[in-house]
């Protein structure tokens, strides 16, 4: 009884604080009706216990002896998660915004549409690529000629500041995405969304996109984080002549309509989400707050999860995932990343790799199983040992028809006239050393067995993109690419076409160039689609400019939290989380 009363008191105190003190981030949420508190309650509440009542009641005398306040005690509507990376901006459109920051776009902003949700075999949740669902848009329809899409916005749609979501906001946001340059513009382009003229405000709640071409990629591309809807009224207030898109303002101040608000953000330390109780684009989330702490050391992250100090560890190392999956109270969701492969890339700009046989020899020499077990701890899907030289289906990625066969490798090398072997640097990125280093070491060892002397070259993270993708000057290197839009043709577009960013092998094949161009926008249902894709895969297997190693997996460990959903963007979507 006593505890209950205390609990109530503490709750009020913390609520008061939330209003009184904006830095307060962990209280029990705010209620607009209570705006004043006595000085006393304010002070006691400064401790801001997640436990609220319990710890306050036990008081100072007990606290020093509490080892660590477990997250499990942190109240039923607060989730504490850890991640190894820093969120450096709240604006996905800004240049310099890093990948981990994309989750802000997911959680704080809405898009017109979203993907559906499905349950995977292992019981974990995943987004469903095949289903497009409404988000800020209530409904949409294609024009008769298929060259335009008209979206009906939800009339009740509200931004977090209470103002309505209008078509003008959508247009402003889309204009921004295609105009600011850099990644957002490129991503929009993938959906054939290239210039502001395509976007049209029909009326307050009707928004029209005029298409440049018919493409299966357009609608899915509207569900990726980039085309988020920004409150243009707020943004324009802060726009200047030099900064017409208000990048300075939105960088630190989100103006969205999403399920969560940003309650606190300290780059390098933490980001705190607070529920938007008036979310209009979906069911209001179950948890009130999500605290995302940045902990660079994976060992510390693991310890925190194991000790129960956090509810969630996002993007865990494979080894931890493997070992913790057997723990009783920890659930590890390991989802193979769609449309992604870890590969070994021989660069065709370098003499020995111009010969297909040499590339094949290398493909036959990789100790796949050892690499998969050592570098990935068996998390993910094997991409070797496929049955035939032609694919049965169009799924991507699928097993390449190679496996470890040093004799075959040697023979191929002989055939290529390089029986004596050669020397080559094997480049890896310092910032991805966790999987690249063991992989490279094992490959290096086997290459040595067929006479190829590889020296491992570590390239600093800052230089990796320049060297591998922009200048494409690494003779033999490890590479990873995953397409957000889950189509084989999309993967080929980025990774097999000459000059395209992820084709770090400098590969060119006329047939693939043509086939990709033909299939990229083609509907999957088109009868021509499957044969063309199969042909592309066949060529890619035979010519192996990219030697697939395995399909990586995203590991997320949770504890007393349910509702984690895998997304193609590989960022934490906190909207569906529930305290178990």
């Amino acid at each position: 009884m006593l505890q209950k009363i205390q609990h109530k008191d503490a709750k009020i105190a913390i609520e008061v604080l939330t209003k009184a003190d904006h830095r307060e981030v962990l209280g029990k949420g705010s209620s607009p009706s209570i705006t004043k508190g006595t000085k006393m309650t304010y002070e006691t509440s400064r401790r801001g216990f997640l436990t609220g009542a319990g710890a306050t009641a036990l008081g100072v005398s007990v606290l020093p002896f509490l080892k660590v306040l477990p997250a499990s005690a942190a109240g039923s509507d607060v989730v504490v998660a850890v991640t190894g990376q820093t969120i450096n901006s709240l604006d996905i459109h800004r240049s310099g915004t890093n990948r981990p920051s994309y989750q802000v776009a997911v959680n704080v902003y809405d898009r017109l549409v979203s993907f559906g949700t499905k349950t995977l075999e292992d019981g974990s949740l995943s987004y469903d690529y095949s289903v497009i669902e409404p988000e800020a848009a209530e409904s949409w329809e294609f024009a008769d000629d298929g060259m335009a899409i008209v979206f009906k916005l939800r009339p009740e749609g509200k931004f977090q500041d209470g103002s309505p979501i209008t078509a003008a906001d959508v247009k402003w946001s889309f204009d921004r995405a295609v105009s600011v340059g850099g990644f957002p513009t490129v991503q929009m382009k993938a959906g054939s969304l290239e210039k502001p003229e395509q976007f049209e405000v029909v009326d307050d709640f009707t928004f029209k996109i005029n298409l440049l071409r018919k493409s299966k990629l357009t609608l899915p591309d509207l569900a990726v984080p980039v085309p988020m809807i920004i409150n243009s009224k707020v943004a324009l207030e802060h726009a200047t002549e030099d900064d017409p898109w208000a990048t300075e303002y939105l960088h630190k101040n989100p103006a969205g309509s999403g399920a969560f608000k940003v309650a606190a953000w300290k780059p390098g330390e933490q980001l705190v989400y607070e529920r938007n109780d008036n979310w209009t684009s979906g069911p209001v989330p179950a948890v009130k707050r999500v605290v995302l702490r940045e902990v660079p050391s994976p060992a510390t992250r693991r310890a925190l999860l194991e000790r129960g100090d956090v509810n969630m560890s996002f993007n865990m190392p494979n080894k931890d995932a493997k070992e913790l999956s057997s723990a009783d109270d920890i659930t590890v969701a390991t989802t193979p990343v769609e449309n992604a492969i870890y590969c070994l890339c021989p660069n065709l700009s370098f003499e020995p790799f111009k010969d297909k046989k040499v590339r094949q020899a290398i493909a036959w020499s990789v100790p796949y199983e050892d690499v998969f077990q050592t570098a990935a701890y068996g998390r993910g899907a094997p991409m070797w040992g496929g049955a035939g030289s032609s694919p049965e289906e169009i799924a991507w990625p699928q097993k390449f028809p190679y496996s470890t066969d040093l004799d075959k490798a040697k023979a191929l090398l002989e055939e290529a006239g390089l029986g004596g072997g050669f020397e080559v640097p094997l480049s890896i990125s310092l910032s991805q050393a966790d999987w690249m280093e063991p992989t490279a070491l094992l490959i290096q060892e086997n290459l040595a067995k067929i006479g190829i002397k590889a020296t491992i070259e570590k390239i600093p993270g800052a230089n990796w993109r320049t060297a591998s993708l922009v200048e494409k000057r690494l003779p033999l290197h490890l590479e990873t690419f995953g397409g957000w839009l889950n189509y084989p043709c999309y993967y080929f577009f980025w990774a097999y076409l000459e000059g395209h960013l992820f084709n770090s092998s400098n590969y060119r094949n006329e047939e693939i160039e043509t086939l990709t161009a033909e299939t990229l926008h083609m509907s999957v249902e088109d009868p021509e689609y499957a044969p063309k894709i199969k042909r592309m895969i066949e060529i890619a297997w035979d010519e192996v400019p990219r030697i697939a190693l395995w399909q990586p997996a995203l590991n997320v460990g949770t504890r007393e939290v349910a509702g984690y959903e895998y997304w193609f963007h590989r960022q934490l979507d906190v909207r569906g989380l529930k305290k178990a």
């Binding site: 994976p298 310890a303 080894k319 199983e369 910032s431 060892e445 020296t455 570590k458 600093p460």
Partner: protein, 294 residues
């Protein structure tokens, strides 16, 4: 009072360098310990690769992450390599890095410090500002910057470590040279017809050696730590080369999951080496200083 002691016992014979060395060892158990430890390190560095039970580079995924056993005294790492062999083999590289770095900074620092301390004037001022500038950098970050800029090879780690140590030597030598610039024996050497450079090189500088030996030995240890720190940040030597710092840094990630041996043994080896060098300092000074002989 002390002159009583030295004068009332007329020295009977001239002790040789070896005698003196042995005396220093005898008189100070810690120094004796340090030299014994150094011997262990040197043996490991010289014959290490020949005596390891396994090839330090050969992986064996089947026996990855095995705890220490009779077969693998220090266990195996995530690629199934024998940690014991790697720790032993790494000795040579780690010692080489620190010795090379320290030698480089010793030579350059001594040269610059001697010049600054002996001639003084504007040269001294300029050099001093230069040293100040280097010292004003957060040194470890400077080392990181250098390695990052030049690329992470063993040579560059050596250069980076040397650069950040140069001011310490230069300062020390400068002070030591400065106090001897006007000393009687310096003047006597000039009277004997020695040019400035001869006076500096043959008379003043050798006398600055004893205090420098302390610095050298401390720095040897510090250079190893520095290289290890760089490895921890990811700017260490190339894999699969065995190096203590990298092994500790990588092993550190395995501690929480229970594979403590990965970090512990290279960590102990690292500590052993640094510890040895740190302990060596005073003993080395006593040995180099002829005034300690009677």
């Amino acid at each position: 009072m002390t002159d009583v002691v030295s004068n009332s016992v007329p020295p009977t014979r001239n002790h040789g360098a070896l005698d003196h060395f042995l005396y220093v060892l005898r008189s100070n158990p810690v120094t004796l310990l340090a030299f014994m430890m150094l011997a262990v390190l040197l043996v490991a560095a010289l014959v290490g690769p020949a005596i390891t039970p396994y090839d330090p580079l050969t992986s064996n995924a089947a026996i990855a992450l095995q705890p220490p056993s009779l077969d693998h005294w220090f266990g195996t790492d995530n690629l199934g390599r024998d940690v014991f062999s790697r720790v032993i083999v790494a000795t040579r590289l780690d010692l080489a890095i620190s010795v090379a770095a320290v030698a480089l900074s010793f030579v350059i620092g001594s040269l610059l410090g001697s010049i600054a301390g002996y001639w003084g004037g504007w040269l001294d001022s300029v050099l001093n500002r230069l040293f100040d500038t280097i010292m004003a950098f957060p040194l470890f970050v400077l080392a990181m910057g250098i390695v990052a800029a030049l690329g992470n090879t063993v040579e560059n780690i050596v250069y980076a470590t040397a650069v950040i140590n140069i001011p310490f030597y230069a300062r020390l030598v400068r002070a030591e040279v400065n106090i001897r610039r006007e000393a009687g024996f310096t003047q006597a050497a000039k009277l004997s017809g020695n040019s400035d450079i001869r006076v500096l090189a043959l008379h003043i500088f050798p006398n600055a050696l004893p205090p420098m030996m302390v610095q050298v030995s401390l720095n040897l240890g510090w250079a190893i730590l520095n290289a290890a720190g760089l490895s921890f940040i990811g700017l260490g030597v190339r894999p699969p080369t065995a190096e203590w710092g990298i092994m500790v840094a990588e092993g550190a990630n395995f501690i929480v999951s229970g594979e403590w041996w990965l970090a512990l043994f290279p960590g102990l080896a690292l500590m052993f080496a640094v510890f040895t060098f740190n302990l060596l300092g005073d003993g080395l000074r006593d040995i180099v200083d002829p005034r300690q002989r009677t």
